[in-house]
Symmetry: C2
Subunit: 215 residues, 2 copies
């Protein structure tokens, strides 16, 4: 589960109380039950750590199946990418904490590799989808959004470019509202929202779309 | 394994000789061994059906894990999308055949659903990557490429649009060679190739890239 907060991308990890890899930090998860599919399973496992209604997006990431990835019995993991908006701070248990991705603690098994894969998937999707909706609050200033994109991408993004690209792609809408002006005065910053809160490819091969979709 | 041939997208299936679902058509695959990861496993399984060197692209598709998807012992499948170029016709065993996706025979288990998911992944990637390289011959005319894209996308694509978009994205290069002119005379058609034979996102969030990559 990833969240862009205070200009930094964080991952939710819990500290293992038992062997193997006691005291190391793990991604939330657990065994698949006989009566559930992997999507049901991950939502059940996550519900033990957080209120899953706080999750703005969940998708299958990849299977991790190195024979020796976990000591003992063969364990194949289906990893998911989950996102939480920047302004949501779900209650979490005492053994669980958000860690910055560029300062991870000692992690269990291949969970650092899985975390990096999740980050890379998020970065790729920021380039060709509207997935920013899942990291941002429901309404935000361009300056807030710039900070979130910069945190997720790992480099500074210009506010004017970001606004222009997302607007051109039809992903961003002005709400018509503004924040109160700051103590120094000046123009009060405008509030924006994403056009839709579901993942879509924002820049498809537009001219190749079937004629009916070209409206 | 998918291939765009004669203007139609095909999938490679084999006919089951034994129960369960005897005589129905299956995607190639099989059990994960203790000493291999899923990527090694799928290449081993495919090698039983075709010369895997003919595959131009392989990627993880998704996990299919409905508890009742296969009768008997619980079976979770990691599905892969494999692509074969239009001009490659690998030798296949007698129990195996290419089937058009819009006229599938009686399929085993959830393999029709997996096939549709593979088709949808391919279609999505045609919109934001250079994945056409994996469906096309090494060199091709725009008219041949148009036929391949139309087959994969499921609707007619205009040759001029296709050439313009792929060229603008830097995915397509003229080879400088032409085919011999047809019997009716006229300008001999130019031969093109893809710029690179590895998957890349061809239309990333360009203005958001780190400065060093903007060359």
């Amino acid at each position: 589960m990833l969240r862009a907060q205070d200009g930094v991308l964080h991952v939710l990890l819990w500290q293992r109380a038992r062997e193997p890899h006691r005291n190391r930090w793990s991604l939330p998860g657990g065994r698949l039950r006989d009566d559930e599919d992997v999507e049901t399973s991950i939502r059940r496992q996550l519900a033990e750590k957080v209120d899953v209604h706080k999750l703005s997006h969940v998708e299958q990431l990849s299977v991790f199946s190195e024979p020796a990835r976990v000591p003992g019995r063969r364990t194949v993991a289906t990893a998911f990418l989950g996102l939480v908006p920047a302004d949501v701070d779900p209650e979490i248990p005492d053994d669980t904490a958000w860690h910055p991705l560029d300062g991870l603690p000692d992690t269990a098994f291949d969970h650092e590799r899985i975390t990096r894969a999740a980050r890379d998937r998020l970065r790729a999707k920021l380039s060709y989808t509207n997935i920013g909706f899942a990291l941002a609050p429901a309404e935000f200033t361009i300056s807030e959004l710039r900070r979130i994109y910069s945190a997720a991408l790992g480099y500074e993004v210009a506010a004017t470019n970001l606004q222009r690209v997302l607007t051109r792609r039809g992903a961003l809408l002005p709400t018509g509202r503004t924040l109160p002006a700051g103590p120094a005065g000046g123009r009060p910053p405008a509030l924006f929202r994403f056009t839709q809160p579901d993942l879509e490819i924002t820049d498809p091969f537009a001219v190749l779309r079937p004629p009916a979709e070209r409206t």
